[in-house]
Symmetry: C2
Subunit: 735 residues, 2 copies
C-alpha cells in the first residue's frame, strides 16, 4: 500500500534518492573531464561486468558470516547498487536487466523463508543470520531499485513492492521491534533501510516509521542483545532522529566509539542525502547544529597518522577511512557541508568517489586542485547527547620527522560495545601503536572463528579493565563489570589545554568506577629543547577510603632491552589471577622495585622506548603476557608491564614514556638506545596539589605541579616545596 | 722498514690502492655527468663536513660495542676513509688536514695502550674490545692514508709508518696469531687489514704475511674462541688466499652463511681491488675459477625478495644488500667482472656507489640505462672447498602477484657460526617469513644486551636443533652439539631439479647427525592449475635401528585460526624439556592427533596459511612458544607447532604447506580462508620408494613417489600401489 507524500517533491520521477534526474544529466555532461570520477566509474563498470558474466546467484540462506551464502548475498546487494548507478550514467539496459532479474529472484525466494537457520542472533534475519545484514541489503538495494524504478513496467514494480519490499520493511521493523527500536548502530541500519525503501516507494508510513520509530510497543524493556546491550532505550526514544540525538555528542563523537561510528556513518549519511533530495524541508544536515557534518570531522580526527581508527571500545584494528563506505561519507559531507577543502585531501587519499552529485563535486574539486591538508590537531571530543558526559582527548605533535598521538578516554560507557576502561590511554608514533588498546577479540567475517562473530574472550578479556592502560583495583574491573552501573556513569573532564604545542595537557577524573575510590589522571605531551621526540608524562592520582591493590599496566610491543629491576625466570608460568581478565595473563616474571624509580627499555619496529616510573621499594613489577586460559588461541600473545601497589590507600603513579632512539639492522647502529631521563619523583601529593620532579641525565630537572581541584586558567597559586617557592597562575606549573 | 716490491707497479705514486692517479683524473673529468656518483659524492661531503665541524675526538678506549668510545672510533675510521677520497676528488686540503690530524692523534695514543680493558674477547684489540674491529679500522684507514700519502711530508709518513701502522699491523698478526691465522671471517679481516697497510707502505713483508699467513707458529691447536670455534685450521693453512680457498665453495657459497659472507665480502673485495691495482699479476679476480665474482652472485641469491639475507647459521635478521659495504662489493664485482648488467639493478636499488673507478663504471652504466633485472632464480649452492660437502638449495617461484622462496640447508657445519640444523628449511612469501629460521640471539651493537655481543641463548637456543624446522631425535641436537663431530660431517645432496617451474624439487640426506639414524628430506615447490599460489610438499623420511622420539617443528608467525585437533588450555605452562633448547620452549598445549591427518590454519600479515600433515592416531601435536628460562628476555616469544612421533623406528613426516588466502581489515573480507587440501597420506614407504597421496577439496588427487636410492634422471621405475601401476623415468613421479 502506497501513501502519497505531503510537503515533498513530486513522485514518479525516479531516480530521486541518491541520484536525481538533474544530477544524472549534470554528471553525464561532465564525464571524461573528472579524472577520479571517471576512474571510479570505470572500475565500477569492470566489477559489474564481471558479476554479470558470472551470472545471478541467489542461494537459499544457510551460512554464518564468512560462509558462502552470506558472502554471496553481500556481493549481490553491492553489485545491484553499482549496476543501478551504471544504468543511469551509461544508459546501457543490461545493467537494469541485471538488477531486475536479481530482484525477481529475491522476490521469489523471500516468501519461502522463515528466519535464518543460524540461531546466534537476538534478531535473526532473512537472507542473513542477523537483521543487521538484511538492513545493509535493503539500504543498498533501495538505491538500485530507485535507479530502475521508472524503467520497470508498473506491474513489475507493484509486484516487487508488494511481494518483496514492503513485507521485508515490515519484517525488519514491526516484526523485529527489539532490533528496530533501539538506540544502537543496529537500529540505525534498521531505520535507514526501512526509510530508504519507503522513499523509493513513496511510502510515507515507512518513512515516518524510519524517522520516529515504532510506537506503543509491548516488549521486555530489560532484555539484552547478544552483545550484552539493552534493546530498549530507557526514555522510550527510537527511530533515525533519536539515533542522531542520543549516541552523538554535540562535537559529533559517537558514543560506541570510532569503529562503530565508521559503520554507522554510512547509513546516517546516505539516508540524510536521500532525505535532503526528497524532503529538503527537514534540513537534515542542519539537524542538532549540523551534527552529521561534525561527526564526519570527528571521525577523521579519531584516526592515527595512517587513517586507521583508534580501537576504542570494540574496534577491529586496521579499519581505516579508506573503507568504501567512508568514500560516500566524506563525499556527502563535502557536498552538503560547504565544500571544506580539507575533506578533499581525505578523498584524494581514498582515490575514489561516490558516483553521484556529491562524488562529482569532490572529483571536480580534486581536478581543480582545491584540496588542503587535513591536519589532525589536538582535540577534545565530548561524549553524551549534551556533551557533558566526559570526552576523548587527543594530544598530537607533528613535525617533519615524527607524529605522536596520545589518546585518553574519559567518556561514558559507550553502549553495548563499551569497555571498562575509564581513563585509559593509548600512544601512537607515526601511525604505529607504541602502547596499545587491545581492541576487540573478534575476527570479523572469518568463519572459522565463531562464524566471524564476537569471541567469548571479548567479554572475558578485551572489555576488562586489566586489558587497558589504566588502574584496576583489587583485580576487579571498573563498575564490577556491571553494564547498567557503567551506563549510568561517566568520567569527568578536568582540564584540556593544547594551546602551547610544547606542553600540552589533558586531565580527567573518575569517581564511580570503584565506590569510595577516586581516580584523577593527567597526561602531558611535552616537546621541549631537551628532547628530539615528544615524551609523555603520566600522573595517575588515586585516593581511597580504604587500602586496596592497584595495578597499572602498559601494553607495549616488541622485545625488552633493559630493566633497572632484576628479573627472574620462573620454572612454570601461572595466570596472574582467576577472573576479570587476570586469568588470561601469564605472569612471566614478578620483581620488587627495591628503588624509588624503575626504568624499562624496549625495542619495537626498530625504535627504542623507555618507561621511567616512580616507585616505592615495595612496589611490584609484573611482566605479563596475554594468552592464559585461551584454548582456542583467540587472543594475541601481547606483553605488558604492570606496576602494582598493594595495601595502599592514596598514591600516585607517575611515569615518563619516551620514544628515544632507533636501531638500523642494515647499518647495525643503535642511536640513543638509552632513556634521556634519570628519574621521576613525587615531590608532593595532597588534596590540593600533586608535584613531580623529572631528572634528565643531562643534569636538567623539571617540576610539574598540578592543582588537583582548580582547573581555572586564571587562578593564582603559591606553594612551597622543600624550601623552594613556586608561584604560577593557571591549573598547572611546568618548568 | 720498507721493502721494495718486485713484479709490481712503481712505488711513490699514491694514491694507488683503491683510487689510482689515473682513475682520479678520469673521475674528475666525469663529475657532474654521472648522477648516482655525483649524489654519493655530495652526500659524502655533507657527512664529512659535519664531522670536521664537530672536531676530532680520539678517546681512550674503554667501552664495549654500542658504547661511546667504540662508536667514536668506528665513526673515525669511516670519516677518515671518506675524507681521503674527498681530498683526492675535490682537491680541498681541509680533508687531508682532517685525516692527518686524526692520524697524529692515533699515533700519539697508540703507544700508550695495552690490550683493551674489556676482557670478553679471545683476541682483545687496541682501540676496540676485539681485534676484529681494529682490523676494520686499519682496512678503512689504510685507504685514507693512501689518499694523503704523497701530500704528507716524508718525515710525517715515516713517523706514522714507524709509530702507528707497522706496530699496529704486527700487533694484529704476530702478536695475536690465534686471531690472524684462522680460517674464519675474523682472520680475513686481520689478513686484509695487514695487507692493505702493507700495500700503502710498500711493505712486502706485510703483504706476504697477509696473503700467506704466519708460518711456524707454536700455539695450542685445540684452543677455541669465544664463539666456540677452533682458532687453528687442521691443515695449518692461513692467510688471505687460504681464506679464499677454504670457506668458499666453487659456487661462491661461504660456509659461515650469508650474514658473515656479507661481512667478509667487503675485506675480500676491497683487498682484491687493491691487489688488482698494485699486483695485477696475481690475477686475484680469476683466482679459484673467479670465486670472488661468483661469491657476490651467490650472496645476492641468498636474499629474500627485499634483498635481506636468509639468516642461516648466525645471522641477524634485517641485514640486506643495502648495507654500505655491499655497495663497494657490488661495484667492484661489476667493474672487475665483465660489467654484468644484472648487477646494475642491485646498484640502482642501493642508490649509491663506491667513490672510485668501480663506482664510476656503475654510475655510468646506470646513467646509460644499461641495467637488467637481477632475477633470483632457483639455485643450488654447493658447500665445501671442493663443492662436495652438501649445499643450500633455494626453490623460487615468481609471478606478478607473488614470490615464494623455499630455502633448504644441507651444508657442512659452517665453522663457529654454524647451527645444528641439518636439513632445516625456511619459507618466504613476498620477502616476508612464513616459516622462519630463528637466526641468531644477539642485538648487534646494542650495548645493554651483553655489550652488543652474542647472548648465551644463542648457544642454548638459537643454535640448537629444536630451534629449527627439522627433526630432533630424543630431545638431543644433531651431533649431540659437538662442534668437532659436526665439523667433520656434512649432509649429502640427493637431488635438485628446478627445470620444470611448476614442479621443483630438492632432496638431501643426513646420516651422521644421529648415529644409527638416517634422515632423507625432500621438498617440492608446486604451482599447478589447482592453486593460485605455489604450495610446498615436505617429505621427511626417517629410518633408525632402534625406536626413538622424533620432533618436527614448524616455526610460524601470527594467530591461529583453526586446528583440526582439539586444543586445551593448561592451568600452568611448563617448559617442553630440560635441555638442548627444549628448556626455552613453553608448552602452550599438547594434543593427540587421533586422526590420520591434521590441519592447522593461521593468519599472519593479513594472509591465511595452512599446514596439512599426515599423522597416526598416537602422534602428538605440541603448540609451543619460545621464552622459557629466559630471565633477561633475550628471546623472541615466537610460536611453533611441533609434530611428535614417539617410540618409532622408521617413519615419514609428510606435510603440505600452503599460503591460500588473505584478509583485508578495511573491507573486512576473508578470501580463501580455508586450505585447498583435504588430506595427505603416506601410500607407501620402504627402502626403495616413498609415496604420498594429496587429496584436494576439489576432488582432484595427486600422487608423489620418490625413488629413495636412485636420483638418476634416466632410471625407469615401475611400481604397484593399491593395485594401481605407476611407471615413470627419473627420480620421482608427481601427477
Ligand atoms: Ca597505523
Ligand atoms: Ca640459522
Ligand atoms: Ca624481508
Ligand atoms: Mg579497549
Ligand atoms: Mg558489543
Ligand atoms: Mg638457525
Ligand atoms: Mg660464532
Amino acid at each position: 500500500k502506497s501513501v502519497s507524500v505531503t510537503n515533498s517533491k513530486q513522485t514518479g520521477s525516479h531516480p530521486n534518492l541518491i541520484l536525481t534526474q538533474e544530477s544524472v544529466a549534470e554528471i553525464k555532461s561532465q564525464l571524461g573531464n573528472v579524472p577520479v570520477f571517471d576512474a571510479t566509474l570505470a572500475a565500477t563498470q569492470k566489477d559489474v561486468d564481471l558479476a554479470i558474466q558470472e551470472g545471478i546467484d541467489v542461494p537459499v540462506p544457510k551460512d554464518m558470516a564468512g560462509g558462502y551464502t552470506h558472502s554471496q548475498h553481500t556481493a549481490n546487494y553491492k553489485n545491484m547498487q553499482k549496476a543501478g548507478v551504471l544504468f543511469q550514467l551509461l544508459e546501457d539496459e543490461k545493467y537494469a536487466i541485471y538488477v531486475r532479474d536479481m530482484l525477481l529472484e529475491y522476490a521469489k525466494l523471500y516468501p519461502t523463508l522463515g528466519r535464518h537457520p543460524q540461531e546466534r542472533s537476538y534478531a535473526r534475519g532473512k537472507f542473513f543470520w542477523q537483521c543487521l545484514n538484511d538492513s545493509n541489503w535493503l539500504t543498498y538495494t533501495s538505491q538500485a531499485y530507485d535507479c530502475i524504478y521508472d524503467w520497470l513496467p508498473k506491474e513489475q514494480s507493484d509486484y516487487l513492492n508488494k511481494n518483496l519490499f514492503r513485507p521485508y520493511a515490515d519484517f525488519l521493523s514491526i516484526e523485529t521491534p527489539k532490533y528496530f527500536n533501539r538506540i544502537h548502530n543496529h537500529s540505525t541500519w534498521g531505520n535507514v533501510s526501512v526509510g530508504m525503501i519507503g522513499l523509493v516507494m513513496d511510502d510515507e508510513e515507512l518513512v515516518n516509521r524510519a524517522l520516529y520509530g515504532l510506537k506503543d510497543l509491548d516488549i521486555d524493556t530489560n532484555a539484552i542483545d547478544n552483545d550484552g546491550g539493552y534493546i530498549y532505550d530507557k526514555d522510550g526514544k527510537a527511530g533515525f532522529l533519536a539515533n542522531l540525538d542520543s549516541p552523538f555528542s554535540p562535537d559529533g563523537f559517537y558514543t560506541e566509539g570510532p569503529y562503530y561510528q565508521r559503520y554507522a556513518m554510512y547509513p546516517f549519511m546516505i539516508f540524510a542525502e536521500a532525505l535532503q533530495n526528497k524532503k529538503p524541508e527537514l534540513k537534515i544536515f542542519e539537524y542538532k547544529d549540523a551534527v552529521l557534518l561534525k561527526a564526519v570531522d570527528a571521525l577523521i580526527n579519531l584516526t592515527d597518522a595512517d587513517g586507521e581508527f583508534f580501537p576504542l571500545n570494540d574496534g577491529q584494528k586496521g579499519m581505516s577511512y579508506y573503507t568504501a563506505s567512508l568514500v560516500s561519507v566524506v563525499d556527502i559531507s563535502y557536498y552538503h557541508g560547504n565544500k571544506k577543502p580539507e575533506l578533499l585531501s581525505v578523498a584524494k587519499a581514498q582515490n575514489a568517489v561516490q558516483l553521484n552529485a556529491s562524488g562529482l563535486a569532490v572529483a571536480i574539486g580534486l581536478r581543480d586542485g582545491k584540496e588542503k591538508p587535513f591536519l589532525k590537531k589536538s582535540i577534545e571530543l565530548s561524549d553524551g547527547a549534551n556533551g557533558d558526559e566526559g570526552a576523548v582527548g587527543i594530544l598530537r605533535y607533528n613535525d617533519s620527522n615524527n607524529t605522536m598521538a596520545l589518546v585518553m578516554k574519559y567518556t561514558g560507557q559507550g553502549l553495548s560495545h563499551g569497555h571498562y576502561d575509564k581513563l585509559s590511554f593509548s600512544l601512537y608514533e607515526n601511525g604505529e601503536e607504541v602502547l596499545q588498546d587491545y581492541g576487540l577479540s573478534r575476527f570479523v567475517n572469518v568463519e572459522q572463528k565463531n562464524g566471524g562473530g564476537y569471541l567469548k574472550e571479548n567479554k572475558t578479556f578485551a572489555k576488562q579493565t586489566i586489558a587497558h592502560n589504566t588502574v584496576t583495583q583489587n583485580e576487579t574491573s571498573h563498575f564490577n563489570n556491571d553494564f547498567e552501573i557503567g551506563s549510568n556513569n561517566h568520567s569527568e573532564k578536568y582540564l584540556f589545554d593544547a594551546s602551547n604545542p610544547e606542553v600540552q595537557i589533558m586531565s580527567a577524573t573518575e569517581t564511580n568506577a570503584y565506590p569510595g575510590t577516586n581516580f584523577h589522571r593527567t597526561m602531558l605531551l611535552v616537546k621541549d629543547a631537551t628532547v628530539d621526540i615528544p615524551y609523555v608524562i603520566d600522573l595517575f592520582k588515586v585516593t581511597s577510603e580504604k587500602p586496596n591493590q592497584y595495578d597499572l599496566p602498559y601494553y607495549y610491543f616488541g622485545q625488552i632491552i633493559a630493566t633497572s629491576f632484576k628479573t627472574e625466570a620462573p620454572k612454570s608460568l601461572t595466570p596472574l589471577g582467576t577472573k576479570n581478565g587476570y586469568h588470561h595473563l601469564w605472569k612471566e616474571t614478578q620483581s620488587q622495585a627495591k628503588a624509588d624509580n624503575i626504568q624499562f627499555t624496549w625495542l619495537n619496529n626498530r625504535k627504542f622506548y623507555s618507561i621511567t616510573a616512580a616507585t616505592t621499594n615495595e612496589d611490584a613489577i609484573i611482566l605479563a603476557r596475554i594468552g592464559a586460559n585461551d584454548p582456542e588461541f583467540n587472543l594475541r600473545r601481547d606483553p605488558s608491564i604492570i606496576l602494582r601497589k598493594k595495601n595502599t590507600k592514596a598514591t600516585v603513579f607517575a611515569s615518563i614514556i619516551e620514544s628515544h632512539g632507533d636501531y638500523n639492522p642494515i647499518s647495525e647502529k643503535a642511536n640513543n638506545a638509552y632513556s634521556s631521563f634519570k628519574s621521576i619523583k613525587v615531590l608532593l601529593d595532597n588534596k590540593k596539589y600533586t608535584a613531580l620532579e623529572l631528572q634528565l641525565k643531562s643534569g636538567v630537572s623539571k617540576v610539574l605541579i598540578l592543582a588537583n581541584n582548580n582547573a581555572s586558567k586564571e587562578a593564582k597559586h603559591t606553594l612551597k616545596i622543600n624550601d623552594k617557592n613556586y608561584e604560577w597562575s593557571g591549573s598547572y606549573y611546568f618548568k
